[in-house]
Amino acid sequence: MSAGGLVVDGLTISAGSGARLLSDLSFAIEPGSRLGLIGESGSGKSLTALAIIGLLPEGLTASGSVRLASHEIVGAPERELNGVRGRDVAVVFQEPLTALDPLMTIGRQLVEPLRRRAIADGEPLSRREAALAVSDRLAEVRLPDPDRIAGAYPWEISGGQRQRAALAIALAGRPRLLIADEPTTALDVTVQSDVLDLLDRLVDERGMSLLFISHDLAVVARVAPRVVVLERGIAVESGELRDLLTHPAHAYTREFVASARELDAALDWGVPQ
């Protein structure tokens, strides 16, 4: 698989007790294409993201295969994974306040991956170039007054601004695959809408592949045409989102789609009289 592609084959995640948290998950993302991973709490969707970047919590083990660029992630040594993260794949998490380092300004957290990428490309940045690059990247994610934001700590800016900054940091290493794990769930609905537009545009402009993880069908529908539905660690259904909405095949998907439709329909009609 060439740059940006991801092939997950028979991925299984087990706890020390032997309990299976994810069973035999397989899917592929072609370079430059998008996939939505949909599931409710406990479905294993976030664990899947962590397994793809080789960051499963202590006590959990992965088996099967995750092929990313030319690397096999499952069982890879930390040294190899360090080269993969940031460059081949980056992640944006749900809560930027916990994902960002509270003791470092946004600018410092952004300049590090920018520098690393520049060194890897054989073109190290001067201090001045680095400062300019930080400013550019913050402007690219539509942050107002990039210089002020660069000097701010995560807790000094709003939730929406933090998620934009987290996106800039994730993209700094020019990854070919972006994993977005519930990236807008913690945001206000008007902010969510803007951040989804931004994510959609940047993934498009850079020709990145996208794995978008969410519990919200309507949010996934905005960014990913094709989906996998996870229920308690098992992929129960996959395919085009439109087909899934019209002809859900699995009992779980049917209930899930019907519930989402009911809430969606209420927005058109209001409370049933």
Binding site: E40, S41, G159, D188, V189, T190, V191, Q192, S193, L196, H215, D216, L217, A218, V219, A221, R222, L241, R242, L245, T246, E255, F256, S259, A260, R261, E262, L263, D264, A266, L267, D268, W269, G270, V271
Partner: protein, 260 residues
Amino acid sequence: MTTLLEAQDVTFAYRRGQPVLRDVSFAMEAGTNLGLVGESGAGKTTLLRILLGLAVPTSGRILSNETPFDARDRAQLRAYRRVTQTMFQDPYSSLDPRQTIGRIVAEPLRSLGITRDAGELRVRVAEALRSVGLPDDIADRYPHEFSGGQRQRIAIARAIAPRPKVLLADEPVSALDVTTRIRVIDLLAELGRGEGGDYRTAVVLVSHDLGAVAALCDRVVILDRGTIVEQGGTRDVLRDPQDAYTRRLLASVPRLPRLD
């Protein structure tokens, strides 16, 4: 028709600060559910604190059952709590893990002095559990044995045990999965219709989730930065929003693609 709960020109400012609520007025009639909608910074939490009697308006007043209510007066607060109960967003932190379900649900009955008789408490707890669709034999079990959706049902059972007229529900379904969310909304709707027993409990749903509000509430109040920008019948507001912020909010809600 009785006005169960009313806010009249409620303004609230923290000491020396700018007001976080300005001239907020709305009324809730018996038999209707009311949605209070807003994003962060809208003033929802402050308004909820005032409606709970935890804060007192800087100016303006709250009326309960058409009578002015002063939260600083202990007797009034007690009477108010009998008719106005509450439930919160997080079903994991809002139930005391060391207490049995029976004790949790009986708590408002005891603290409001409605009854202390063990036999009567048991009957009232069983009745409350049944009306939220839970078997009454769970009274001896503990919260950790239940899922998030079941815990929200237990929280509702606790809130309705004193048979309040009004249930203040603060994002009651936001932490729940979508399939569970629908069931809890249906349950709240049944309370308003009096299907839980021979009394009715109207819901004030405080939420950022327009879908949930649309599914439950007959009337909606839209708050933005401390003021009401629009209020009216939910259907009218959804179909023909008058305020620019309401329009932007509605346009931002992610929708399922239309398939026809």
